[in-house]
Symmetry: C2
């Protein structure tokens, strides 16, 4: 019987420490306590670990660091994404260098150039359409994986969510409660997420025979706030906010206008953060599972280092979580 | 007249680009667009920039990367801290390597060892009392600055907030509205923040002649939730939550128990996140100014690289922000 050779990761798992600790313990690095080193070395022997010279040579040209470019860590969607990527990278023995590309003024070119100057082994980035030429250029020499959005016309792989199942289930839940006129706060039509969510909303409204009122907003709290005020003038009985920041804006507008959520209007938001539940009527959510998106992206990026092919993209399905914010019939 | 010599930072400011872009443009690095390089070189000449050989030699032994250890990026306090540090580091030409030490099971030793293995120029860490020996050892060879908490008995410098002004102003605001019996959700007494905030609460309650009810919680949402339920049994007219996570727990408990915030009970929380305002009665806050804490820590750490002395600590004052959650008299 042929078994796969023992890897550093196997030893790390057996010892309950990180890959980098194992690597340093086997190199007899005094940064690791003597007793820990000896334990790890004994377990490595027990597991019949043989350092693979080829792998080590290959490895030596690497920095064991990956770069992550997100618009902003203040946005809870991106901080949850960063947390998942950092944790998964740490388990795989990689350090995470985080850079922000700016929420409104994209500094993505500068961020990516700084990461390349540090010779990171690969980059995960939330892309911006206007930077596509530069990104294509980078992808020729550095493994690059997009997350959250893809860029139309570019073949750089991306880990994205599919909004259709979540939006369909949300609209079905609203229709079954007797809602007929649904307001939608749409994201920017310059991003793949903004475009696809609106398309899905329109398609499933038509299928279910629901009247649509659409406000073209953006991905900002303020746009959710003013958009909600405008939509209310047309008296929808339910609102769907097309991203988490606009969900916060919608909540704030409904509170200020004294519209009772879950009694006078149904509200569905995006992304399942704890704050969505900490409301008098917990908010129903179309959840993208950002943690799975982040972990998948990191795993696919790292897997690409061994081969010579670019990292693989992935599609994570959204799901609908019904809560009190929709529990009434108009 | 003697003027200070032009630095890379001066040029970066004049050009509106990052220090790392200037540095690469002056090195004629083709990663920077030709036109941009030429513009930056022209401005450098105009500002009479002369590369300082000594500084460059010193610099060459550096990685221009700093390490940041936070308990978790999911906690909005720490993600806001990370965002401020990353932005300030980027402006100063440093990359930020972020590692999480775990919210409940501190993996701080492993996180710091991994950062040292990467030879970061310095480390900013939210410390954990049990790791003090290891941290003292690290501080002898790597510039180390604590943030958020200091460790009693250790002389490693820290950037912390002073809870006294904020807690005093909050209690004065409650007393002036006729509150006499105040409930307090205390943080863990194993951290400097947990200890000092409780001490400040007790001291100012005594000075103002207010009755105190104290629940010893922790820094978890769940502890704020159950603590609030327990405090309510003793019928306080106002509650103060000793950190942001417990503020979320208190909000959730009050909503579930149908206690009307700002009408039946006054609520004061910690840390001014946007979510605190997106509530039917926006929550009054004792604000630590985490952004200033993060930026100060980064500046003090970087300033220490030039000299041979350890980085300087700092104390940022808290302030009280009164909102609707306290606008009633019992």
């Amino acid at each position: 019987m042929v078994t796969a050779p023992t890897t550093l990761r196997d030893i790390a798992r057996a010892c309950g420490v990180s890959v980098s600790t194992v690597s340093r313990a086997l190199a007899n690095n005094p940064a690791i306590a003597k007793k820990t080193r000896e334990t790890i070395q004994a377990i490595a022997k027990e597991l019949d670990y043989r350092p693979n010279a080829q792998a080590r040579a290959l490895k030596s040209s690497r920095t064991d660091a990956i770069g992550l470019v997100v618009p902003s860590l203040i946005n809870p969607f991106f901080s949850a994404m960063a947390a998942a990527i950092e944790d998964e990278a740490n388990q795989a023995g990689y350090a995470t260098i985080i850079t922000s590309s700016g929420e409104n003024t994209p500094k993505i070119t500068e961020a990516i150039e700084a990461l390349r100057a540090r010779q990171v082994d690969g980059i995960i980035a939330v892309p911006h359409a206007k930077s596509v030429e530069m990104l294509e250029h980078v992808a020729r020499s550095t493994p690059l994986l997009f997350i959250d959005r893809y860029i139309h016309g570019s073949n750089i792989p991306a880990v994205v969510s599919n909004s259709a199942p979540g939006i369909k289930a949300a609209l079905e839940a609203l229709a079954s409660r007797g809602h007929k006129k649904i307001g939608y706060l749409a994201g920017p039509q310059t991003t793949s997420t903004g475009l696809e969510r609106l398309k899905d909303f329109q398609r499933f409204c038509e299928e279910l025979g629901l009247e649509q009122i659409i406000h073209h907003g953006g991905y900002l709290h303020e746009e959710g706030f003013t958009g909600t005020q405008k939509l209310l003038e047309q008296h929808p009985t339910a609102l769907i906010a097309g991203d988490s920041m606009m969900t916060f804006g919608a909540l704030e507008a409904l509170y200020r206008e004294n519209v009772d959520i879950g009694k006078q209007i149904a509200l569905v938001g995006f992304d399942d953060f704890v704050f969505m539940r900490i409301q008098p009527a917990p908010v129903s959510i179309i959840d993208q599972n950002v943690e799975e998106m982040g972990r998948t992206a990191l795993r696919n990026l790292v897997a690409s280092f061994a081969g010579k092919s670019p990292p693989e993209g992935a599609v994570v399905q959204t799901r609908f979580i019904a809560r009190e914010s929709i529990e009434f019939s108009p």
